[in-house]
């Protein structure tokens, strides 16, 4: 949906909200950084990649594909990687500006975002700080029903790994979880997806019901591929096709375990509890495997527990370990700050491994948060500041007003110059041919401009 210019009052409120959010992140020691509005598409499409890549505004210039930035994190981290290729430096960076989203779901193409990235520190303290500044910023805007919903990609990934899925299948499943999260029948949706993942009808056709050795299957398939007259290979070699077919066959061999995985995930995705009961609920779901997850559970819950030191009420926290976000590079805690009706006010997470995709030699500990300023403004109970009535100097010719306007501006007043009186509400000052100034039937010579400024300030008040 094209950007609709907000009214003056709404513009004022959006600006005030952004100013407030920036003030809070600055109070936590974050430095404002600028990232370009136009970025190389490569940054978002090939290397980072996720649902963000689906909704990019792209265009070509000089043989390069460019995009209007859909978010700030990628560019900020790229900047960090360029500055500190060996990592190790702790940086707190914040940003503010428009982001763009070419979605066809009716959401606006352009939104305002304020965000912060805590780079170079990977411990629970960093997580807690980002969560705390997010909640503090939202709470101060009087949004009474805001809740922090928090999960852990690391914990979910580790729990999936227990069922013997290979890395690629884990990766596919993790990105699929976000799609089925809101499906009415999570179990059915997961079963259907997994049955496709494990589909090996060719293998069954070749071997019948009798499973043969991998070598036998490989020979059969080589013969099969060799006999094909087709030249349409779609950029893949026969060896690649064969290797993947064998991998699929191995996957399918553990079919029974995947049924258990569906059962586990269906339950895991439904977990939603308070911080107080989180540890017992999570270990309860993990059952006999819980001992293997002690460290991961501790790592997940310890920053959330620290929030009480920041004055955050436990009532405001919902622990939902399987929460998934739409970026595939999240690697640790993920969170959303949302209203009771589910409107997203802010969101973020830890993304330590992302830097390797941007050219870093190793992981860079990183966690970030992005506030959706337009939504936050809509829910904020903060009233717009009254707009000071503007002052208009009316002069013919216009340049007669230049010197008095400069003097009034020096006195701290906002002044505009016109030839005729404007129709909107304003404080009018007529400039005479002798540079005298008339306001409210009082005449002020130029040398008494200080008195005029005093009267105008009274008028504005």
């Amino acid at each position: 949906m094209p950007y609709e210019l907000p009214s003056q009052a709404d513009s004022q409120r959006i600006s005030q909200t952004a100013e407030h959010l920036i003030r809070v992140v600055r109070l936590f020691g974050y430095d404002m950084v600028e990232t370009g509005l136009i970025q190389p598409a490569e940054l978002f499409m090939t290397r980072a990649g996720d649902e963000i890549a689906d909704h990019l505004f792209t265009f070509e210039r000089g043989g390069q594909t460019l995009v209007l930035r859909p978010e700030f994190t990628s560019a900020a981290l790229q900047h960090y990687v360029n500055m500190f290729p060996d990592a190790g430096e702790v940086r707190r960076w914040a940003y503010h500006g428009p982001i763009f989203n070419d979605a066809d779901d009716g959401s606006p193409y352009q939104q305002t975002s304020v965000g912060a990235e805590f780079l170079g520190m990977g411990n629970p303290f960093a997580d807690a700080e980002v969560l705390a500044l997010g909640l503090q910023a939202i709470n101060q805007l009087g949004i009474a029903d805001a809740k922090l919903v928090i999960g852990s990609v690391a914990l979910t990934r580790q729990s999936i790994a227990q069922f013997g899925l290979d890395n690629r299948a884990q990766q596919l499943l993790m990105s699929h979880l976000h799609q089925v999260e809101d499906a009415p029948q999570t179990t059915d949706a997961l079963s259907s997806w997994l049955s496709k993942l494990l589909q090996t009808s060719l293998d069954e056709a070749v071997n019948g019901e009798q499973a043969s050795s991998p070598d036998q299957t490989a020979r059969t398939l080589q013969t099969l591929l060799g006999s094909q007259q087709s030249t349409a290979m779609g950029g893949r070699t026969r060896e690649e096709i064969l290797a993947r077919l064998l991998q699929k066959r191995q996957r399918a061999a553990s079919h029974a375990e995947y049924r258990q995985l569906v059962t586990f995930l269906s339950q895991w995705m439904s977990v939603s509890c308070s911080l107080e009961e989180a540890e017992s609920v999570i270990t309860g779901y993990l059952g006999s495997r819980a001992r293997d997850f002690t460290e991961a559970v501790y790592r997940f819950l310890s920053p959330i527990r620290m929030l009480s030191d920041y004055g955050v009420s436990p009532e405001q926290i919902i622990v939902k370990p399987a929460l998934s976000r739409n970026w595939e590079y999240y690697s640790g805690v993920v969170f959303e700050i949302q209203t009771a009706n589910g409107d997203l006010l802010a969101a973020g997470g830890r993304y330590d491994t992302f830097a390797t995709l941007l050219g870093a030699s190793g992981s860079v500990p990183a966690i970030g948060i992005a506030f959706f300023v337009d939504t936050v403004t809509r829910h904020s109970s903060i009233e717009a500041r009254p707009i000071a009535q503007p002052i208009t100097l009316i002069a013919q010719p216009l340049h007669d007003a230049i010197r008095p306007a400069a003097a009034l501006r020096a006195a701290g007043l906002d002044v505009r110059i016109t030839e005729t009186a404007p129709t909107d509400s304003t404080l009018l000052v007529a400039v005479g041919a002798d540079s005298s100034l008339t306001f409210n039937h009082q005449i002020f010579p130029l040398e008494r401009i200080g008195d005029l400024a005093f009267e105008l300030k009274k008028g504005q008040a």
């Binding site: 066809d104 596919l172 060719l202 094909q228 349409a232 290979m233 779609g234 993947r244 699929k248």
Partner: protein, 337 residues
């Protein structure tokens, strides 16, 4: 344009001739006074002017209001959907084809869209490039691939001979319209069973503003839909006439109504046969006329025989007009009229 309604029809392509044939069957024959010109008439509805355009231009002409109604492919409407265009009748039952995702037959490891999502990841991570998809349907393709969890692909614009793209080497897979699948097979491609993006056939579209604001357009649509619905309903029925020896019209009627197959649309019409004399047991000959679904014809004949029927004749029904055209009722609901 005042007091006239422009109907845009496809001038060439797979649905051009079938559209004229379909309208003819509906009693809405199109006359084209000059075969070299792109205009025509619909004598059954004199207020209708006909404009022949390419199938995609039918959509644009209806969108910009040049034409108020049009017949085109549903795949085109889905791909290039315009804000002011509404689909009035989605299933005209001809011009069937599917927009499908097809991969090389040699990809014996790829059986569904989940496999394809993995291939896209493989290409990106192992070969450092995106999966290339040749299509002339970029919008529908993009939406479908995203919904299938595939985010890393490049759409390759192609005009004609898309099926050859994986062989020539400028694309890995294709998304294209398929009618019988023969062209795919000849090019060593296979459709993915869960890769059907659009199930398409010919459809009737209209300009929403014109339908909302112009009574004559709406009335013309009503009359067109009456004919279309009646014709399509008629295809499924036959009229049976049978002579039955029975005690009375009431007795025969009750016997036939008891069976859903011979109950007709409202019940059978029963009349005494002129000049027939009562039998020794008091029974007389009656003629029964009723409408029967074609698919239930064998059962109907058996029931009529058991009821004492003979000399059964059947004629096809061309039109079945209901109380109101169901498609027009649905259109009014969609337009909140």
């Amino acid at each position: 344009m005042a007091n006239r309604v422009m109907l845009a029809l496809p001038s060439k392509g797979a649905i051009a001739e079938p559209t004229l044939s379909f309208l003819n069957d509906c009693g809405l024959k199109i006359e084209k006074p000059n075969p070299r010109q792109y205009v025509g008439l619909m004598p059954a509805l004199p207020q209708v002017d006909v404009l022949f355009q390419r199938a995609i231009d039918v959509l644009y002409k209806v969108s910009d209001g040049t034409a108020r109604l049009g017949v085109t492919g549903y795949d085109i409407v889905q791909e290039y959907g315009q804000d002011d265009v509404i689909v009035i009748h989605k299933d005209l039952r001809y011009g069937h084809c599917n927009l499908v995702v097809a991969v090389p037959e040699a990809w014996i490891d790829v059986e569904n869209m989940v496999d394809l999502a993995e291939i896209a990841l493989d290409l990106r991570e192992r070969k450092g490039r995106q999966m290339r998809v040749a299509t002339t349907y970029p919008n529908s393709t993009r939406r479908f691939l995203h919904a299938s969890g595939i985010h890393h692909f490049t759409l390759v614009n192609a005009e004609g001979a898309i099926e050859a793209a994986p062989t020539i080497g400028y694309a890995d897979i294709i998304v294209d319209l398929v009618q019988t699948g023969t062209t795919l097979r000849e090019n060593h491609l296979k459709p993915l069973p869960d890769g059907v993006i659009i199930e398409s056939q010919a459809c009737l579209i209209g300009n929403k503003s014109a339908l909302l604001m112009d009574e004559m357009t709406l009335e013309t649509v009503r009359m067109i839909l009456e004919q279309m619905d009646a014709s399509m309903n008629g295809r499924g029925y036959s009229q049976l006439t049978v002579n039955i020896l029975g005690e009375s019209a009431e007795q025969i009627g009750a016997q036939l109504i008891a069976e859903p197959v011979t109950a007709g649309l409202q019940g059978p019409t029963i009349a005494p046969i002129y000049g027939s004399k009562a039998q020794a047991d008091g029974r007389k000959w009656f003629t029964v006329t009723l409408i029967v679904p074609n698919k239930a014809m064998p059962q109907a004949v058996e029931i009529l025989r058991r009821a004492g029927g003979s000399q059964i004749t059947s004629i096809p029904v061309r039109y079945v007009y209901l109380h109101e055209s169901p498609t027009f009722a649905a259109l009014k609901a969609a337009l909140a009229l």
